[in-house]
């Protein structure tokens, strides 16, 4: 909107917004800057530019965190979780959005309630149950846990996309003799895929970043995620902060790149369902 604001108001606003942006970026700038410095340089001053770029920090972080293995684990976990959430969640979102079952209100309330359940409420029996069944260190099992945790949120978000599809499209298809499955797959899915993509991004980000479940259920070197592996590296007694920052940059990079390229979808996903119009 083009509102005539007094010059001073606008300048002051930009000043405050700029300060806020500085606050948000400052620690990240330090991370990037110091990822290219030696430890003595960092100790001399974390703000000084590097004398020469220490790329070995990245190589060492990669090696010590076993990122070649753990990045792969994280990627597989992200893929499995996203696929599970989208396939099961879109079906449920459709049923709830179009009130296809009598108990839709009850199911919705149940799902909303589980979004607020603390992980600790189900973590302990789940862990010992998984241990009993030999599912510890099993990436697929963990993706099922993530699916359970992230589904309610995803369903609520997807529901709004299903609601945006005109009901007439479905009715026309039903009149032409389509089965419920055909209506869902042929009429709705092609129209709600932008919503699916948004959900995929958010769930992918959550899964990549998740710590509590990952550190509990994926314990051995072969199944660890990048985040957990980074956590273990950084918990070691002797700390090379340059290498640690390089590792941090590596772990953060995939998310940041996706975020920058698909920011609008991220913002949609993050705000979706939280704003009451």
């Amino acid at each position: 909107m083009n509102m005539l604001e007094s010059r001073n108001t606008v300048i002051l606003s930009y000043f405050i917004l700029g300060f806020a942006a500085f606050t948000a970026l400052f620690p990240l700038a330090l991370m990037l800057l110091n990822s290219l410095k030696t430890v003595p340089e960092i100790i001399a001053s974390p703000l000084a530019p590097p004398e020469q770029l220490v790329w070995e920090n990245y190589a060492n972080a990669w090696k010590h965190s076993k990122f070649s293995r753990t990045f792969m684990n994280s990627a597989v976990l992200v893929f499995l979780t996203t696929a599970l959430v989208l396939s099961t969640g879109s079906l449920t979102a459709y049923v709830l959005a179009r009130k296809k079952i009598k108990t839709w209100a009850l199911v919705t309330a149940y799902l909303l309630a589980t979004t607020t359940a603390p992980i600790q409420l189900f973590l302990f029996p789940l862990y010992f149950g998984f241990a009993h069944l030999g599912l510890i260190n099993n990436i697929f099992a963990v993706s099922v846990v993530y699916c359970a945790i992230y589904s309610p949120f995803s369903i609520m978000l997807l529901r709004t996309y299903f609601l945006a599809v005109p009901k007439e499209l479905e009715e026309a298809a039903l009149v032409d003799g389509a089965t419920p499955w055909q209506v869902f797959s042929k009429v709705y899915l092609p129209l709600v895929w932008p919503g699916m993509l948004t959900v995929a991004l958010i769930i992918g980000m959550y899964t990549w970043n998740e710590f509590l479940i990952a550190t509990t259920f994926l314990q051995n070197q072969e199944s660890r995620t990048a985040i957990v592996s980074y956590f273990l590296l950084s918990g070691q007694y002797e700390t090379n902060w340059g290498e640690l920052m390089a590792g941090a940059v590596l772990v953060v990079m995939p998310i940041i790149i996706l975020f920058i390229f698909l920011q609008k979808k991220f913002i949609d996903g993050i705000t979706g369902g939280s704003v009451k119009g």
Binding site: A20, L91, I101, T116, A117, Q120, P180, W241
Partner: protein
């Protein structure tokens, strides 16, 4: 037919969340180390908690956490969102920057702050100390450890509030804002009379969610201080985790989980009422 559609979601949800949740409730009345057979002990786990100094400390820390997160991120979020609404130009750019901390894993954020800011050798704290300021690593002292962690989580979190509130503010009818401008409203009057009332449902929802989330906080505390030093930054979730997996007192941990859930339940009750009030 349509019941089949929701079956996968429900099976996974019930198997992973509901059944273990019920088991947790049952376990709260048993003594169990995770290996041998559980022993029924009635309310003993809860009695133990009642007399547990650390439990009260953790509960208090959760309440402090709730108070911090009910004020700072919400106020900062509202101010920043209203300024974004004022300038308009560049609002997308600023939103992206404000969301950076949110999309970065808690583990990473925690380590960056620990190493680059709080660290007494390599951090900004060390640098400022050299310039004569009387600073120290807040995580190393019992009086400040919790706040040291909270600052990082606040840094991570406020952008989310700003973006949510900005999205809500954009839905306040433009004419209402223009009418107030014509009537001569100042910034604070605009906030007080038009903008805040206009997004009250969103603010209420965010406050309720903040209460719920404040009792779930785990990652930042666990990664940065493990609840220390001397349990000074312990919260209920880290305490429960430690009891279950370090001390193998699963029954005790289950009792703590139930306490956490009770706070969540009260907030959820309000949340559901709000959802219903929305008239869907």
């Amino acid at each position: 037919m349509y019941r089949l559609f929701i079956l996968p979601t429900m099976i996974i949800n019930i198997a992973v969340i509901s059944i273990p949740a019920i088991l947790t409730i049952i376990l709260a009345f048993y003594r169990w180390d995770g290996i041998s057979d559980p022993v029924f002990i009635g309310l003993e786990n809860f009695e133990r908690l009642w007399n547990d100094r650390i439990f009260w400390k953790a509960l208090r820390n959760n309440l402090i956490w709730t108070a911090l997160f009910l004020t700072f991120p919400i106020i900062i979020g509202l101010v920043v969102a209203s300024l974004l609404l004022t300038v308009r130009r560049g609002s997308t750019f600023f939103q992206i920057i404000y969301l950076f901390p949110l999309v970065i894993s808690a583990v990473i954020s925690a380590r960056v702050w620990q190493g680059m800011i709080y660290n007494p050798q390599s951090g900004i704290v060390a640098l400022l100390e050299r310039y004569g300021l009387d600073l120290y690593d807040p995580l190393s002292r019992t009086a400040t450890a919790l706040y040291g962690v909270a600052v990082v989580d606040l840094w991570h979190w406020w952008g989310f509030m700003a973006v949510i509130f900005f999205a809500a503010l954009r839905q306040v009818p433009q004419e209402q804002i223009e009418a107030a401008r014509l009537e001569g409203a100042t910034y604070f009057q605009m906030m007080r009379w038009v903008l805040i009332p206009g997004i009250m449902p969103t603010i209420t929802l965010m406050m309720i969610m903040t209460v719920i989330w404040s009792f779930l906080v785990f990652d930042f505390v666990y990664v940065m201080t493990q609840g220390g030093p001397a349990s000074s930054s312990e919260v209920l979730s880290t305490m429960a985790y430690r009891r279950a997996f370090y001390e193998l007192k699963v029954g005790n941990a289950a009792a703590i989980a139930i306490v956490i859930s009770l706070f969540g339940l009260v907030a959820t009750f309000f949340y559901l009422r709000l959802q219903r009030g929305e008239g869907e």
